[in-house]
Structure formats: structure tokens, C-alpha cells
Symmetry: C2
Subunit: 377 residues, 2 copies
């Protein structure tokens, strides 16, 4: 496959890391990019103007949630997901597989696909590679993900191999079902658990099919940062250099920094949004828990160097008050800050790659993290 | 009392209705004004930029909630309520009396004041006229309300008289405790239930003490719109013409229109914010319940003539989806719309008074309401 579907231009590189521009039907995504998660057609608590103001260029929608409610056909009738949720920029949708696989009691997996019952009302659904592609087309996703089988972790090599091989067959079916349009693309997903030989085989199978981009799936599932990085070390070199690479569901800032060094271009994670809702704020040196009484009388912003409107306008004492009083504005302000923090990190990574000083940036990043009192999330 | 504390200029009038400018320490309030309720130091779900964008010039804070959490002294240590919550404009605070009186099991009322236990943790508190004034000074309220005894409704004339007389003694104590500063003012509150003679007596007692503004309290408690308007008809003529008049806790758009015609300058009500959180949207012709399935496939905005960003950017189908999915953005977008709707109503009333065509405006307003399918709230 050529870059006809989704032009991707690498404008600079530094070691394995790349600085790129991905041109979708709804606008350009500068990479390395963090994709803000907007599960059910909304980034929880924020208007899309507020999301854009964090620096986000692309958001992620969840096929599973949207196919159940309001339904893919209903979104299509409203003009697609961009118009429905008032996000004019690029959207990537997942395939729904990850959520469906986790419905252990409610789903049945066959070679054809997955049948499952809605966790909302028990309605039965089929999700096949073809239907997953169709749903994402109805949503009008700029980037469609193939349906894959999410291999449990841990898994024996035998289980992981069978699972990966089925995912590769599904990837081929997804490719056959995908209708190409300019500015729209389909990404394959490398599986194979933590087994290097399987990852290499999976990457080769996807290259053979040909995709607009290549995701690394099945990580950030409990294997730990070292195993994740080791898997990237064997997988990324097997991916076509000219196509974007997406590490799914990752991660903490240190995970992202390490993966960018290894050549990853795209990320998504619920961490900045979900932890913002529970009162946890990312700063360069620490993760602050705003529920903690030590913030009760502290007038300082979350991070004095952060340019976000939460840090410009509000002190920790006020944010603590909002969380204690269970006021909606607490999650709103912290989500906004955390997303700014993540986008600032990505902007800094892009600048460092452009300047050819990524290793300096990483050293300074690691020094700040080591000095801080990083609380466990 | 002269206008030294809080300059109020009446720039136009039309019948009993007035168009005015109230100059507080934190800015001018154009009247007739609707004050957005920000109970616990936040207008639920909105940033203060979003509140200002609705057209709001003044917000209301609740002494009861803030004295319990985070505490008035704590807010003062953070630079006052304006700075704490990032609202640079005028703030009116209530006295806490209304909420305390409703704690039936937990409070004890004496001539000195009220003792009560926090509904949060049982901590005992005293609230006297002097302490209510002190708390509001700690919060740095531009407009302080006297502590009054909220007469139950219905009440016999004898009960209402005793209650009103105590409120007048408390009003005098509040006045004595209030430290005057330029741009800050103290409002008295007329009581007397629905008894005209008591209302007249109460107004006379307050005039005798002298205040920067005069509120009408004890209405919107179940007496109905007709009794409310009849009470205004006997009360408003007894209030000093040169001072602002505030109808507390009111109300629906039709209540506000009727009260403006009768000479009221200021209002506050939880209706646009609270009903926004439960899925109800005010439009000129109807109150829409966004939970209703009839909105499921409707791409239209809430009100095609509304200039608010919710109506510019989102359709009913999407808002319905957000409420069905219990997404925070639903309450946020509807609160924003409802506050815009209220502020548009106030702007229209101000323009109509300036143009000397208030009765035409009222006739058109009533025609639209009669034509619409106003759902009960």
C-alpha cells in the first residue's frame, strides 16, 4: 500500500525517533502525537474548544461504546462523529475488540468474530472484522483500526501464537472490507504478547497485507515498562519506516518518552483524563493528589511553570475544595491541566527531535522525575 | 443611608420597571439583573470564563455552604472569594439563614441567632446577625445580605408577625455590625409572608434602619405566582425608589418578567443551573426534556434563534446521547445554554425598558409562552 490513503511525512529524526506530519481528511496531526480519549463521543467534562485549547490535534473514539449507544447508524445519520460531537479535527476509532474481549461472561469468540451482549441492556451484537470496519466508516473515522483478538496477559507462547495468527487473518479481512478514500486510512495491529519471534512474524504478516499505519497492541496490560520497551525494541524495526507507528493504550509520561525514543509516533491513554477526574494532577516533578489535606491552604498553582488556564487562574486550595465538595469543576479543571501537561510533553519531544537533542531532553526528563515525589497512580 | 456604599443610577424607567446601573467594588451590574448561583464557590460545571460568556455580571455565593466548607477564614486567607474562585466581577452572598432554617432537626433558633450542626460532619456552629455579616466580609462579598428568619409557609398572621419582627431586630443588628466600604453594600430583607400589612410594616422598619438595597424575601416558597405578584404589588411601592430591589430566589422566566414590571431590579434562582443538570432546557417556546426519546434523532439545536455556543455547535440528538450516557458534558452544555437564555431575557427586558416598550415585550413574551408546549419543571 502506498501513502495514497493517509500521507505521512517524516520531517526530522533523531536516533530511532521521528518527527512527522500525518495528513488526514480532517487536518494534520503532528507526531509524535498524544491522542486524547473521547470514549462515548465526548472527552469527559470538556467542550471540544477546551480540548483543542490543550493542544490536542486528534481524538480517539471507542467503537464499542458508540455502537451500543447511540449506535453507529444513528451517528452517521447525524453527519458522522465529527459533526455529532463538534470536533472538526482528525478522529481515530478503535475497533471495539479490546472492550468486547473484556466482557468475559457476555461474549463468545469464533473464527468469524465475536458475539456479545451489551452491558447496558443485554441486546445481542455481532462484531466481525468486516462489521468493525463498517462501523468505523459510519462514524467517519479518519483512522480505522482493524479488529484484533486481544491476547490475555500472561499467555503461553502457544496461546499467544494462535491468538496472533487469528488476528492476522482478521487483519486481512479488515483490509478487504476497508473502502479507501483520500485522507482516510486503516491501521494494522501487531500482536504476539511478549514473545519476540511472534512479534516479528506478526509485523511481517501485516507488512504483507499493507496498511496506512501500524499499531503495536497487547502492551500496557501488566507486563511492566521493561517488557514493553523490550517488545518495542524487537517490533519497531520490523515496521515500515515510512508509515506511522501507534503504541496503543500507552501511557505514563515516562512510557511515552521511552517509546518515542524507540520510534513510536502515536499514543493514546485514559490516564490524563481518568486521573484528572479522581483528583490526580500530573506535574513535571510529581503526581499530586488534590484530595490530600496538605493542599487545603496552599495558594500555589499545580505547576508554576505550566501555561495552562487551570494553573494560570486557580490555586491548589481551591482545587482541593472542589474535590472535597464533589464539584464538577474539579474534574474539569484537572482534566484540562493533565491534557495540557501531556500535550506540552509531546510538543517538547517534537522540538527536541527537530533540534537533534532528544537524548538531552530525556536525561533532563529523567532527572526531574527522579527528583520529584512521584506518587503511585 | 445614602448611596455612599453602593452607587445605583436609574437610567430609564417604563411604568414601574427601571433600568439601572449598580456600581460595586468589582464592577458594574446592569439591572434588571439575573444573578447566577455559585453555591459552593463554583457555578456547577462551568469555568468562570464560561459563566462570563453567558452575559452574567454578578454571581451569588452561599454563606452556609462556604462557612462549612472550606470555611470563611480559609477563603479570606486565599484572598477572598473572587480570587479563590477566579471570578473578578461582583459577588452577592446570602446570609446563610435560608439554608440553616431548613435544617429542621439540626438547628435551634433563639433571639440571639441560630445554632446548628453541619450536615457534613455534625460540627456545631453559631450563626448570629453579627457573625453572618462577618462571614460575608471575610468572603469579600460586594453585597452582603442581613440574616433573617425565614418564615415558614404557610404561616398564620400571628406567626408571620412575630417572625418578621425578629427579622427586623436582626436587620438592625446586621446594620450595626456592617463595616461600610466604598463599593460594598448591605441589603435588608422584607418579610411578612403574604400579609400586606406585615409587608408594609417590614418595609417601613427597613427604611428606618437604612440599607444600600432592599430585598423581598419569603416568596417563591409555594405561595404561587399570583400571591407573589400581589405581595410585590403592596411591597415594592414601600421601598425607596432610589435603591435597588432584589426578589430572592425567583424564578421562572414568567416570574421574572412579571416582577420586573412591578419594579424589581435583581433576581437569583437555581432553576437554569439545576434544571440544566437534570436535562431540561429553556427555550422561548418550551422547556425541553433532553432525556426524552423524541430528541434521539433530532439534529436541530435547542433553539435555532439562540446565539449561545451550545446552540451554535450541538444538536438535540447529541445532547440526548450525553444525558442517556450520563456524560458530564450534558449538564455542562445545558447549564451554559440555560444561563445564556436567562441572560438574553434580562438583556431584552433592559432594552425594552430603555425603549419604553416593555408592555409590548411582555405581550409578545406571553404570546410565545402560550403558543409553546411548556413542560412542567
Amino acid at each position: 500500500m502506498t501513502s495514497l490513503g493517509l500521507p505521512f511525512q517524516i520531517t526530522a529524526s533523531d536516533g530511532a525517533a521521528r518527527r512527522g506530519r500525518l495528513a488526514t481528511a480532517h487536518g494534520v496531526v503532528n507526531t509524535p502525537a498524544f491522542m486524547t480519549v473521547g470514549t462515548a463521543g465526548t472527552v469527559k467534562g470538556l467542550t471540544t474548544e477546551q480540548v483543542a485549547a490543550t493542544g490536542a490535534e486528534i481524538i480517539l473514539g471507542n467503537t464499542y461504546h458508540l455502537m451500543l449507544r447511540p449506535g453507529a447508524e444513528r451517528v452517521a445519520a447525524q453527519g458522522g462523529l465529527h459533526r455529532f460531537m463538534n470536533w472538526p479535527g482528525p478522529i481515530l476509532t478503535d475497533s471495539g475488540g479490546f472492550q468486547v474481549m473484556s466482557l468475559e461472561e457476555l461474549r463468545k469468540l469464533t473464527e468469524d468474530g465475536v458475539t456479545f451482549r451489551s452491558h447496558l441492556d443485554g441486546t445481542p451484537y455481532d462484531l466481525t472484522p468486516e462489521r468493525a470496519v463498517e462501523i468505523q466508516a459510519l462514524l467517519d473515522a479518519d483512522i480505522t483500526m482493524v479488529l484484533d483478538e486481544c491476547t490475555p496477559f500472561p499467555a503461553t507462547e502457544e496461546v499467544a501464537r494462535h491468538s496472533m495468527e487469528r488476528s492476522m487473518r482478521w487483519a486481512a479481512r479488515s483490509k478487504a472490507a476497508f473502502i479507501r478514500r483520500p485522507g482516510y486510512g486503516l491501521f494494522g495491529i501487531v500482536q504476539g504478547s511478549i514473545y519476540p519471534a511472534l512479534r516479528v512474524k506478526s509485523a511481517a504478516a501485516l507488512r504483507e497485507i499493507g496498511f496506512d499505519g501500524y499499531a503495536v497492541g497487547g502492551l500496557a496490560v501488566g507486563e511492566g515498562q521493561q517488557a514493553m520497551f523490550e517488545t518495542l525494541d524487537v517490533t519497531v524495526p520490523e515496521l515500515p519506516v515510512e508509515r506511522p507507528r501507534y503504541l496503543m493504550g500507552v501511557g505514563k509520561p515516562a512510557d511515552i518518552v521511552g517509546a518515542v525514543r524507540r520510534g513510536i509516533d502515536m499514543f493514546d491513554c485514559v490516564l490524563p483524563t481518568r486521573s484528572g477526574r479522581t483528583g490526580q494532577a500530573f506535574t513535571r516533578r510529581a503526581v499530586l493528589n488534590l484530595m490530600n489535606a496538605r493542599h487545603r491552604d496552599d495558594p500555589r498553582p499545580l505547576d508554576p511553570d505550566c501555561p495552562c488556564p487551570t494553573c494560570a487562574d486557580y490555586g491548589r486550595a481551591y482545587l482541593h475544595h472542589l474535590f472535597k465538595a464533589k464539584e464538577m469543576l474539579g474534574p474539569i479543571l484537572l482534566t484540562r491541566h493533565n491534557l495540557h501537561h501531556y500535550q506540552q510533553l509531546m510538543a517538547s519531544l517534537r522540538q527536541a527531535i527537530e533540534a537533534g537533542r532528544l537524548e538531552d531532553f530525556v536525561a533532563e526528563f529523567e532527572r526531574q522525575q527522579a527528583e520529584g515525589d512521584l506518587a503511585p497512580l
